[in-house]
């Protein structure tokens, strides 16, 4: 968690935003340092089929697997599917030419998810294609205990999202991203500027909570 683009705001917002948008660079640094709870060895960045990455990872992480030959490793990899975790997801997104991959790791106090991913797409078709591809890979690689997921926002043309339990992914167009600024909200927390601009509602001076049926529901009335 320290050093990641978590919700702790250690440097200036822009600097951290850049760091967070670099996304995988942080992941690689952290995993190389062995500080995070990821696998101790950095996963090799193989951009072939995911099976290829899996074979190399198994070979590297296996430790005592040196006795197996190359062909046998690949055969074993075909039956063992890679786990659907964050590195796998980021590798798939790179494969799909997703722009501006932003991975935010949330602290466990926010019991929403572990990772929050925001991805830019070049067009509506690109967003739909990416979302459907991610869902397909998830269905292919998930274990039996993981729940089914569905794509939300299929009727929209600028914002789709998928909730994978511990990972939540948002596919947006760049204009939509500018409007909502989700990265700012989830990294800055209470210090978000859009939140500060919401004028705080104040209670009227004669407000007494729930004393009589006539005095309640003051918040519903706008005069």
């Amino acid at each position: 968690m320290p050093g990641r683009g978590g919700t702790r705001c250690r440097s200036a917002a822009e600097g951290m935003w850049r760091a967070v948008s670099a996304g995988c660079r942080l992941l690689r640094l952290v995993s190389a340092a062995g500080a995070a709870a990821l696998r101790p060895e950095p996963p090799p960045r193989v951009f072939g089929a995911p099976r290829g990455a899996c074979a190399a990872a198994r070979g590297a992480g296996g430790g005592g697997v040196g006795a197996l030959g190359e062909a046998e490793q690949r055969q074993a990899a075909d039956t063992i599917l890679p786990k659907f975790n964050i590195d796998f997801v980021v590798a798939l997104l790179r494969q799909e030419n997703a722009k501006d991959i932003c991975v935010i790791q949330l602290p466990p106090e926010i019991k929403y998810c572990n990772y929050f991913i925001i991805v830019n797409g070049s067009s509506t078709r690109h967003l739909h294609a990416m979302a459907h591809y991610m869902l397909k890979m998830y269905k292919h690689h998930k274990e039996e205990s993981d729940p089914h997921t569905h794509i939300e926002g299929k009727e929209t043309d600028d914002w789709l999202c998928i909730d994978f339990g511990s990972i939540v992914m948002h596919f947006m167009l760049p204009e939509t991203r500018e409007v909502y600024e989700l990265e700012k909200l989830w990294t800055l927390g209470s210090y978000d500027d859009q939140l500060a601009q919401i004028t705080p509602q104040s209670l009227p001076e004669d407000f007494i909570f729930g004393l009589t049926p006539n005095s309640s529901d003051h918040l519903g009335m706008r005069t």
Partner: protein, 122 residues
């Protein structure tokens, strides 16, 4: 005359818009009222879509909290809270300051977008 809270949210209930959209926050001489609940029964609970009449226009909205006590171990709010959304499901506002119940995540439906712009969960 003003009646107390009966069932959760049905036709002609006055609701409170909790996001920071312009439509929800500009003052108007009439409060936003529900005119239709998209449900088999006419009663809307947390996570149901309703049609709202705001400032003389019709807008869809999502219920995020009501005054009526729900199932045990779920939050009950002091006002009927609602978030404005478009017809395709995109929220109109960009931030939600009030707490949002966490059970929205488990329900079948398109709630991830509303959860993404929420600030804190209950």
């Amino acid at each position: 005359s003003i009646t107390g809270a009966c069932q959760a949210i049905q036709k002609l209930t006055r609701v409170r818009v909790v996001d920071n959209s312009a439509l929800g926050n500009t003052p108007y001489h009439r409060p936003p009222k529900c005119i239709h609940v998209y449900n088999k029964t006419g009663v809307g609970k947390v996570g149901d879509k309703i049609l709202l009449a705001i400032k003389g226009e019709k807008k869809k909205a999502l219920i995020v909290g009501h005054k009526m006590p729900g199932p045990p171990m779920t939050p009950r709010f002091d006002s009927n809270n609602v978030v404005l959304i478009e017809d395709n499901g995109n929220p109109i506002g960009t931030r939600i300051k009030t707490p949002i119940p966490y059970i929205l995540r488990r329900r079948e439906g398109e709630f991830s977008k509303v959860l993404a712009i929420a600030r804190n969960f209950v």
